[in-house]
Amino acid sequence: MLDLQGYGPRLIEGAGVTLQLAVLSLILAIVLGLLTATAKMSRSWLLHRTATVYTTVIRSVPDLVLMMLLFFGGQIGVNAISDMLYDHYGIDIYFNFNAFAAGVLTIGFIFGAYMGETFRGAFMAVDYGQIEAGKAYGMSNALVFRRIRFPQMMRHALPGLSNNWMVLLKTTALVSVIGLTDMVRVAAEASRATHEPFVFLIPVALVYLLIASVSEWMFARLQKRYDIGFGGQ
């Protein structure tokens, strides 16, 4: 059905790559974002400073430039490490720095900075009295985090999170430039080969719109869930 002059299966495969890439980088970004937010709120000067430099620098440089730096530089860096291992310890291994890993690492690393800002604001919006109340009940720090801070923080973080996810999803298109075969790359190749750009590029654009619309709906449901107990504010 979806033959598209023989490019159909490859396009679907490419869509799979796009989705995997987006979800994996989202997970990495959330983990990095939580760490960054914690570091930014910590009393340690060094942690606070490092996190600030990270969020400021990453958010001031284009995604594509960071991606190329990591992708083209990454292989050289990895080679240097394996050379060193061979020279000093006689260990002979060769790492292949692949485009998918580079994509996930870069996108996760970039959006970790954005997530960090989102989470920091959300954590600060949780009433401190509630944390004190949790401690008064004898809860450990981890339990306070899991039962009190995290669920309430999510309520404030969700709008920003959903926004970051939408931008992240669109950013995945850039991996086609560093040689990863996502749906954008397949569509661009097919356009050049067949001279029919609209046939390939418009369906791909629609897939992005579809993913965006579905996730918008899912985030609205999540928001409802985390808003429980706040009288539909």
Partner: protein, 259 residues
């Protein structure tokens, strides 16, 4: 070896110029990558990036103002098509939009015979069109939010003065909406600067294009991309401080009063 110094002294007729150029040549002397030639590529890239970003922002802004007014219209048949436009352009990657325009422009009937063809054949103008349409969509939504946030009291006051819709829009709603939109618009300008990096994908020699060229020539990814990252960082900070200055000026009435 020292000929260039003599030439420079003769040309400038001062010693200060000599110092600077000597310092600059010393700096570059032991460096194989950042020669005056490659710095020239980066400079050309900076010019292209600035042109692309500036022109698309201006054109996008001009488009966005009427679109935002239409988007805030009470009539569904006016606001819905605009919503559709902003939804599509904000929901799809800019790279796809660029590809569609760059590869698709050839297929407009008769375009290759028209007077526009010499312009559209180069990558610069398809990129400019894609960037303009993209930033116009985002800016429309920013302004629409600002227009919606106009306080009811101001509108009632304008009505009580007997202002027509257009006069009210011109004198009351738009001036205050622009001010409210300023912080979000500043972010959009920075976003556009960063998004412009993808122009290098369609063979344009913008800043990122220059970095890719230098990388390919010397196989030196760290030097090539870290240098260009530093330039983008400076540009971003310049825009940030410019908008902070503007906000200070234009939103002075909203700040808490000191003394």
């Amino acid at each position: 070896m020292h000929d260039y110094k003599n030439a420079m002294t003769l040309a400038s007729g001062g010693s200060e110029m000599l110092d600077i150029s000597a310092w600059f040549n010393d700096l570059l002397a032991g460096n194989l990558i950042f020669t005056p030639t490659t710095l020239g590529y980066y400079w050309q890239g900076l010019v292209t990036t600035t042109q692309l970003v500036f022109l698309s922002l201006v054109a996008g802004l001009v488009l966005a103002i009427p679109l935002a007014i239409m988007r805030s219209s009470k009539h569904k048949w006016i606001s819905l098509p605009i919503y559709f436009y902003t939804y599509v352009f904000r929901g799809t990657p800019l790279l796809i939009q660029l590809y569609i325009i760059y590869y698709g422009v050839v297929f407009i009937d008769g375009i290759q015979q028209s007077f526009l063809w010499p312009i559209l054949r180069e990558a610069f103008y398809p990129a400019l069109i894609a960037f303009t349409l993209n930033t116009a969509a985002y800016t429309t939504e920013i302004f629409r939010g600002a227009i919606k946030a106009t306080s009811k009291g101001e509108i009632e006051a304008a009505r009580a003065y007997g202002m027509s819709d257009s006069l009210m829009m011109r004198r009351i709603i738009l001036p205050s909406a622009f001010r409210r939109a300023l912080p979000a618009y500043g972010n959009e300008v920075i976003f556009m600067l960063h998004a412009s990096a993808i122009a290098s994908v369609v063979t344009l020699m913008d800043l990122t294009g220059a970095a890719r060229f230098v990388y390919a020539r010397f196989y030196a990814p760290f030097e090539a991309f870290l240098f260009v990252a530093a330039i983008y960082l400076c540009l971003t900070f310049a825009i940030l401080y410019f908008f902070r200055f503007l906000e200070k000026k234009l939103l002075a009435h909203l700040r808490p009063q000191t003394n």
